[in-house]
């Protein structure tokens, strides 16, 4: 495990824009090793957009995102070496097997460790299908394959967008255990979920409040 206990992520007055209008009121938070945050908000409140900005995929935001006190765009290589993002689109190739998919992502991180891939799949109860094409799997199994990356690519910051979706009770319990283990090892987790997650130790909650831009906008225009 390449854990550096001194990694810090700091968000200051961050808000994300869509069509030049802010999606939510500015949020600030900071996290260090062993902390986990659950981002909550209604549908369309900007949870996914926030995570994409956090990962540097999107730049439609205002405010600061700092990794070890430096802007993430300035320390991209270091930040990405510590980051694992699993979004709604899982990034799996349906035409490749489970193992090939996981193996490819390991290679991008300059490692190759088949044993840990098989071990991750075993934990997720999909070890028997490691040669199966991802395209033949069910939605829940695909989610499990994507989540296997949290084991097969040990990094310190996990950013998980709705990781519980499509998982059965057993899968959710596994994810909670994996998260707890990760936090105990000094990792950091940011996740979004509509469910109340009770199994993860010390999970703090961050609620995104919708901006009242509609009223402000209408008042400015003299329409209300």
């Amino acid at each position: 495990m390449q854990q550096k206990p001194d990694n810090r992520l700091k968000i200051e007055n961050l808000t994300v824009f869509r069509s030049e209008l802010p999606l939510f009121e500015p949020v600030s938070f900071s996290m260090k090793a062993g902390e986990a945050i659950q981002i909550k908000g209604t549908n369309g409140s900007g949870k996914t957009s926030l995570l994409r900005c956090l990962c540097g995929l999107s730049h439609r935001h205002q405010g600061l995102i700092r990794w070890n006190d430096a802007n993430i765009d300035d320390v991209k290589d270091d930040f990405y070496a510590h980051l694992l993002y699993i979004g709604h689109a899982l990034g799996l190739k349906p035409k490749l097997s489970i193992e090939q998919n996981l193996d490819f992502y390991q290679q991008l991180r300059f490692t190759q460790d088949q044993a840990i891939i098989l071990q991750a799949l075993e934990q997720l109860k999909i070890g028997a299908y490691h040669d199966e094409l991802v395209g033949n799997l069910s939605a829940g199994q695909k989610r499990r394959v994507a989540l296997a990356r949290i084991i097969s690519e040990p990094v310190s910051l996990w950013v998980l967008d709705e990781p519980m979706v499509a998982l059965d009770v057993e899968g959710q319990a596994w994810l909670e255990r994996a998260c707890n283990q990760h936090l105990a090892d000094g990792g950091m987790i940011i996740l979004t979920s509509h469910q109340t997650i009770e199994g993860i130790n010390g999970l703090t909650e961050l609620r995104l409040n919708e901006t009242n831009w509609k009223e402000t906008y209408l008042m400015d225009e003299g329409l209300a």
Partner: protein, 222 residues
């Protein structure tokens, strides 16, 4: 352990080889279109030899255009492209890897099959070689230019129509010099100038296309 760029090329190729429609369709399109001309226009060998350079090049250009989508659209929709960017792979490397895979899977077979089509059109040995050589120099350029258009139209509805409009004007110089090289060779003229320009276009697109594609990809993913 191999470098990420090479594993990316390998992955692209193995994905495309597994979906046969992506891989066989452009080649089949090339063979079908070219072999329909003798039936539709004229079976006269002299006239066919005269038409051959243009037909071979137009068909090759269109089949490359057909093949582009398979390398980008699905990867974008499945979230693979953003995972590559998050793994720290530069956008320009992604474009290079995808263009290389695209050419190996689509362009190279076209180059190989072109002499057979040449024989079908009754062009002489010399012109046949030049046709192969011009495709060898020209098709990678088409793949690279096409990748810029593809990166720009990622995630757009009806991106295919827009792609054609964006990319075809840039394909035209390659088409003109490619076909004209074969034409010159078939009437015994010097064709080295046209091949040199094709080579220059290839070098130019190898240098510029990855950066343009990376910039376009960044906008599309944002």
């Amino acid at each position: 352990m191999s470098s990420p760029l090479w594993s990316l090329v390998k992955r692209e190729i193995s994905v495309v080889l597994r979906s046969q429609s992506e891989f066989v369709y452009p080649l089949a399109f090339f063979i079908i279109v070219t072999s329909l001309f003798p039936l539709a226009v004229t079976p006269d060998p002299v006239q066919l030899a005269f038409l051959a350079p243009g037909i071979i090049w137009v068909a090759a250009l269109l089949s490359i255009l057909l093949s582009l989508n398979g390398f980008y659209q699905a990867d974008y929709e499945e979230g693979g492209l953003e995972q590559l960017l998050l793994a720290g792979v530069p956008g320009s490397s992604i474009v290079i890897a995808k263009s290389a895979a695209n050419w190996l899977v689509t362009g190279l077979p076209l180059v190989m099959i072109a002499p057979l089509i040449g024989v079908l059109f009754n062009i002489d040995m010399q012109a046949n070689w030049v046709a192969m050589l011009s495709l060898l120099l020209g098709t990678p350029t088409l793949c690279l230019i096409g990748s810029i258009g593809m990166c720009l139209t990622l995630g757009l509805r009806n991106g295919g129509v827009l792609l054609t409009l964006l990319v075809l004007p840039l394909f035209i110089p390659v088409l003109i010099f490619g076909a004209s090289a074969v034409q010159a060779a078939s009437i015994g003229l010097d064709y080295s100038g046209q091949l040199a320009i094709l080579g220059a276009l290839l070098i130019l697109s190898i240098i510029l296309a990855p950066h343009a594609g990376a910039a376009a990809m960044k906008i599309s993913i944002d």
